[in-house]
């Protein structure tokens, strides 16, 4: 199959704009993400034909139409499964999944967690606006308890998923979070995801200004509530880095005043820790419980990649038995000849 012939051509973000008019609501956070994604693409160093964006259904899922790459706008929730088939048969491609909180965590929850545990070489971008945008404003599995929406006039009753917790619980090897409007943070996370071989799960906090405006203002606007995680560094944040994260004997994490607690008591982030517990504990730090939100790469662990293993087995089988021969196959077992 074609490996593309333009790997070395120097592309810019503009080269990744398709000729389709972008049709999100004015002011939607999806525009910012699209810009960052297009701007980031040249960093991959791949020619456009090597890139594929696969999406489900939702506002977020429209993104592939706007990318001058190969793309499929599939059906609701199934993008991870479809992308898995593509990725394992075409290791030469860079396959990106674009999905929303409903698409990925409601109808598509099962495909997502299985793609993660398999560690298929997919880059999964979940645009979390904590609402169903495309269907005009019902609550989603990430909407906060008690949320009043079109389908929950007296408030929603279901405790929300924490996308990162469920991803880590599903054995994800790479888990990160960024904000739609935070170009630098998002670009960095996209870079780390792209470099990670295996399934990379990225939650992007995205503002839906029509149906859930301001859902993330506490961290989108209030930068001092952003906890940027850096592997190997002590976890601190705040306008002046005056706050930090410590771990107690019972394993729980807590936000502290650095001056009071002492810098050395702060937890050191280690995204590649063998045990997933640390990343999980960090995923439990939320604005609701702690007034701050960790961003960046929570977990990035090298693990065997499904697609590679599958292709290795094909090679091994050929080595063992030689390239399959159809005539031999048809003749396996007892045969007899009629003259």
């Amino acid at each position: 199959m074609s490996k593309g012939n333009g790997d070395l051509v120097q592309l810019t973000g503009k080269d990744f704009k398709s000729d389709q008019e972008v049709r999100w609501c004015p002011g939607c956070g999806d525009y910012a993400i699209l810009n960052v994604v297009q701007g980031f693409m040249p960093e991959l160093g791949l020619s456009r034909e090597r890139l594929v964006f696969v999406s489900g259904i939702g506002c977020a899922a429209r993104l592939p139409y706007y990318m001058q790459t190969y793309g499929m706008h599939s059906i609701h929730g199934r993008a991870p499964a479809i992308a898995t088939g593509l990725a394992v048969t075409r290791p030469d491609l860079s396959v990106w999944v674009v999905t929303g909180d409903g698409d990925a965590l409601s109808i598509g929850g099962n495909h997502l967690i299985h793609a993660l545990r398999r560690n298929v070489n997919l880059k999964i971008l979940l645009f979390n606006n904590r609402i169903y945008g495309l269907t005009k404003g019902q609550y989603s599995p990430t909407s906060e308890l008690g949320k009043v929406t079109k389908s929950t006039p007296m408030g929603s009753l279901d405790y929300p998923f924490n996308p990162l917790s469920i991803a880590i619980g599903a054995e994800a090897s790479f888990v990160a979070r960024a904000i739609d409007t935070d170009k630098k943070g998002l670009t960095e996370v996209l870079g780390a995801a792209a470099r990670h071989r295996g399934a990379a799960f990225v939650e992007i906090l995205q503002n839906c200004n029509i149906y859930n405006d301001g859902a993330f203002d506490y961290v989108r606007d209030d930068k001092e509530n952003r906890i940027y995680l850096e592997s190997g560094e002590r976890i601190r944040f705040g306008a002046e880095g005056e706050k930090g994260v410590v771990q107690y004997a019972d394993g729980s994490l807590k936000i502290v005043d650095v001056e009071e607690a002492g810098e050395n008591s702060l937890l050191v982030h280690d995204a590649s820790h063998m045990q997933a517990s640390l990343a999980f504990a960090l995923s439990r730090i939320t604005f609701e419980t702690d007034g701050a939100v960790p961003l960046g790469v929570f977990r990035s662990l090298e693990r065997e990649v499904y697609d590679d293993l599958m292709n290795d087995q094909l090679d091994a089988a050929r080595e063992q038995s030689g390239e399959g021969d159809l005539a031999t196959l048809l003749h396996t077992g007892d045969t007899w000849t009629v003259a």
Binding site: M1, S2, K3, G4, G6, S18, Q20, S47, R48, E49, R50, L51, F53, P64, Y65, Q68, T69, Y70, G71, M72, H73, S74, I75, R78, A81, I82, T84, G85, L86, A87, V88, T89, R90, D92, L93, N110, H111, H114, M310, Q313, L314, A316, A317, S321, G322, E323, G324, L326, A327, L329, L330, H331, T332, G333, D334, T335, W336, T337, V338, A339
Partner: protein
């Protein structure tokens, strides 16, 4: 092994081996079949397993059976009624004796007819003793104890293990009785139990003991010979439907030059296609055991998008879950083969039993109008060509295609003349490599004027970057479009593309040697029973025509001419009349049905009766 007793000649025999799930009846039947095939008889088999993994030993639901029909002429079905029943225990007798032809032969393992087993089978008294079997010719054989006795010198096996070899004793006895060649089985034992030589020795000894018992026991006065059938020259093997289907898919991959990707989720009776393909990685076959049927179909479609031959296999309760994804494949116009090994339903139904219940589901089971070609295999071996044909249509027309098999074809087997590879069709295709628009642009929905297929431009092809999706597309450009007239056009184009396949498939073959006024029209696994029934009806001096549809959508282009030429049309189906409905709607002919939904194939005799009644009407 030499013979001294007299030998009688027979034209055909139907034997059913029956015992507990743990008694190895499937293996015994398989081996007997292989010997028979090697001997050169024509044959057909019908395994019948219990639904439970291991139902309690000795119980009725735990009975496992295997029927083999072999003859000196070509035959079409595994036989309506066994002429010989080998019953390893009372439950096996109870479950099967009702099917036996009057005057038939029963070989019972008397050792198993103890009080406990009789009670489990629901016998108040011992049927061997109490005259219940007086209509039959009964051979009482102490299979278990004779086996244990024969193996007493084998080192390294317990007496329980020795007893387990009793199926080989039975096989030896039956092989003697029907003069089957023993070499294949002896070689099979050596290789199969190579890792456990003591078991190999035990089974070999048991087999020989059984053979010798036939030769010595006064109970068996004669043995039988069934002359080889006159089959077309060539190399043969025995093949089951699921294996033929597996090979057909691999062949389609080779013939098309596209790597095979199978997305599947285990389900009876389709699982072994997944399992067999998983063993063929040297053919570049990728098998993906998905989290569910939706993902299985989705992954196959994703693989097709990337230029592979995407296939997904399941049975009815799983195929129904794939419908939304098949609808997407219709919209995307990408190849996809969806295999449905039908089983009895509705819902979970009777997982191990065959039925023809899914035809209308695969025709219509998607939201909105989304036409999909349907190919159905008619015989176990026919699954091979059906798979290639399904793949051919999928690839050439960029469309999902349903391939129908069923539990009977899947597990049944028959001799197969292994095809010469050079006779197989070239089903290769070409990916798009450059722009096809007048202005140098790439138009992903600009169709081939003849096939109406759109270009297949796979990722990795420079300059053809494009997006496809499930929303309605503008003709040619593929851009999202809500234009009313465009939608109508696209609906018509999708319809025309599938309808046009009629010009690219073989005509419906008519078998009407005598110029009948009654036509029997079938599809799928009823082929054998219909053929056998027609033979009987003709042998009885009546005229009947038959035709068998292998393409259910579109129908072959001459189907209307064929059906309209007859006054009376009978459509036998193991459902309540699905093809019948399609034929009536399409051709306005008053086709009537013969419909019994019992989770098992039709008997030739009942079909012959039904045909006779209609012919005489």
């Amino acid at each position: 092994m030499a013979k001294v007793k007299p030998v009688e000649h027979l034209e055909r025999v139907v034997i059913r081996f029956a015992g507990d799930s743990g008694d190895g009846m499937q293996l015994t039947g398989d081996r007997f079949t292989s010997e028979t095939a090697a001997f050169g008889n024509d044959l057909a088999t019908l395994p019948d397993f219990p639904a439970e993994i291991r139902a309690p030993a000795g119980s009725l639901p735990g009975v496992s059976g295997f029927q083999v029909h072999f003859a000196d002429h070509d035959i079409l079905t595994p036989g309506d009624q066994p002429s010989v029943l080998v019953a390893m225990n009372p439950a096996a007798l109870k479950v099967n004796v009702g099917d036996l032809a009057k005057g038939g032969t029963i070989i019972v393992n008397t050792d198993a007819f103890n009080d406990r087993n009789l009670q489990k089978a629901g016998y108040a008294s011992n049927p061997i003793a109490d005259g219940l079997l007086s209509d039959f010719h009964v051979h009482e054989v102490a299979l278990s104890s004779m086996t244990v006795e024969a193996l007493k010198d084998v080192d390294g096996i317990t007496s329980r293990e020795a007893e387990r070899s009793k199926n080989f004793f039975a096989l030896g006895l039956m092989s003697w009785l029907y003069n089957r060649p023993a070499e294949g089985t002896l070689a099979f034992i050596e290789s199969k139990f190579a890792g456990r030589p003591e078991i190999a020795e035990a089974n070999t000894k048991a087999f020989k003991a059984g053979w010798n018992y036939g030769e010595t026991s006064e109970d068996f006065a004669v043995s039988y010979e069934i002359a080889p059938a006159r089959l077309e020259p060539g190399t043969y093997r025995q093949i089951s439907g699921n294996t033929a289907l597996t090979y057909g898919l691999v062949a389609a991959s080779k013939l098309s030059g596209l790597p095979l990707f199978l997305g599947a989720y285990p389900i009876t009776p389709a699982s072994d296609v997944l399992e067999q393909l998983a063993q063929l990685k040297q053919f570049g076959v990728r098998t993906f055991q998905a989290e569910d049927e939706i993902a299985a179909a989705g992954a196959a479609l994703g693989a097709s998008f990337g230029g592979a031959l995407g296939v997904t296999t399941s049975a009815g309760p799983g195929v129904v879950l794939k419908s939304e994804t098949v609808g997407l494949a219709v919209a995307l116009e990408l190849p996809l083969v969806i295999v449905d090994v039908q089983r009895a339903g509705p819902s979970t139904g009777m997982p191990t039993k065959p039925e023809q219940g899914d035809l209308l589901m695969v025709m219509f089971g998607r939201n909105s109008f989304s036409p999909v070609p349907v190919v159905a295999a008619a015989t176990p071996a026919g699954c091979f060509h059906a798979a290639i044909e399904a793949a051919r249509i999928a690839i050439k027309y960029r469309t999902p295609v349903y391939l129908l098999s069923d539990a009977y074809l899947a597990n049944g087997s028959e001799p197969w003349l292994i095809p010469d590879l050079s006779t197989l069709p070239d089903i290769s295709t070409e990916f798009a490599t450059g722009p096809n628009g007048d202005d140098g642009s790439f138009l992903p929905y600009k169709r081939d004027p003849e096939t109406l297929a759109r270009p297949w431009a796979i990722p990795g092809t420079p300059g053809l970057e494009h997006r496809i999706g499930g929303l309605e597309k503008e003709n040619e450009t593929g851009n999202i479009s809500y234009d009313p007239e465009n939608h109508d056009l696209m609906v018509q184009l999708r319809a025309a593309k599938i309808a046009g396949i009629a010009a690219d498939i073989p005509l419906l073959e008519l078998d009407d040697p005598d110029g009948a006024d009654t036509l029997v029209l079938g599809w799928g696994s009823t082929y054998g029973a219909i053929g056998a029934a027609a033979r009987r009806v003709r042998a009885g001096g009546r005229k009947v025509a038959t035709a068998h549809l292998r393409h259910l959508n579109p129908f072959p282009s001459n189907t209307g001419d064929v059906v309209r030429a007859y006054d009376k049309i009978l459509v036998p189906e193991i459902n309540l009349g699905q093809l019948r409905m399609l034929i009536r709607a399409e051709y306005l002919v008053d086709a009537v049905g013969y419909n019994k939904v019992r989770g098992r194939p039709f008997l030739a005799a009942e079909l012959a009766d039904a045909i006779t009644t209609l012919v005489d009407r």
